[in-house]
Amino acid sequence: MSSGGWLKGRRHFSRGIKKASGGQYEEALHEFEKARECHPKLRNVDSCLGEVYIQLGRNRPAEEHLKAALDGDPTNPVVLHYLGRLARDRRNFKAAADFQQRALAQDPVYAEASLELGRSHLALGDRAAAVSAFERCARLEPDVAESRLAEFAKERGS
């Protein structure tokens, strides 16, 4: 593989990150795909593609890319977290909780993983475990409940 391909790929990858950070997910997708074309073994492209597909609501390709990312990096907490979110979307709450627990084992201060773990426990009817996970999340992100409540109020228009 030529270093030119790697450099070009990195450039597209960086652009993709910028676009994704600005909420331009279709453009980000294009840049990440280009990055992969230039250098198929470029690190983190699969996890970024997975995340962007999630943002676009396209869960099937998201899962494919996230699984590929996990093959290359089995303890990546972000990838585990997103796979957990997808499992929860499919209402497979047990698998969702398992993914989030694995994410938290790698990164104990991952607030979003705690929040997702709490949701999965709640869906499984385990209130004690849900409170524990939510408490862990609230210790990491003190405003999380308020912001979820604000989302709820916005949804209801109150």
Binding site: L122, D126, A130, V131, F134, E135, C137, A138, R148, F152
Partner: protein
């Protein structure tokens, strides 16, 4: 005298375990402490909270009720009892305990915030939400966790309707 000091140290250790999620270890210590000093209400309250954390709501409610019987005018005992009842889904008992805590410390907003939470959980979500807004933000993680639980339950209901 040294016995009390030793107990105090064990109590602090048990609380640290509970806060860091080492519930089995915390439970072991709380059980030993409440065995040595059966009238120590606040230790019983913490024991009850640890039991609830473990999902053993039956024993948690029993121990929290015992603690309230020993120290009926203790603010933290009433507040903990309310939390245990709330987690166990015994919302009317929770309301009673939080009302008691609000009576004991009239200036403290925490029991009133919990009362608003009970209102949200008993079906009057909007009214409880309005009360919370009036009281102002409450950042205690234990409260935030329960607020998250109620909010997530409501959000899940909304998702199901969609």
């Amino acid at each position: 005298m040294f016995e009390n000091l030793k107990r105090g140290m064990l109590f602090n250790k048990a609380q640290r375990y509970a806060r860091s999620g080492r519930i089995d270890e915390a439970l072991g210590l709380f059980e030993s402490l409440t065995g040595q000093a059966p009238d120590w209400a606040i230790a019983k309250s913490h024991h009850a909270m640890a039991l609830a954390r473990k999902g053993n709501f039956g024993d948690a409610v029993h121990v929290a009720t015992e603690a309230s019987g020993i120290a009926p005018d203790h603010f933290a005992v009433a507040l903990f009892a309310g939390q245990v009842f709330f987690d166990a889904g015994r919302l009317e008992d929770a309301r009673g305990a939080f009302e008691k805590a609000a009576e004991i410390e009239t200036d403290n907003t925490l029991p009133r915030s919990y009362l608003a939470l009970v209102q949200m959980a008993t079906g009057d979500f909007q009214e409880g939400y309005n009360c919370l807004r009036e009281i102002g933000p409450e950042r205690q993680p234990e409260f935030q966790a329960r607020l998250l639980m109620i909010t997530e339950q409501e959000l899940a209901k909304g998702e199901k309707r969609k």
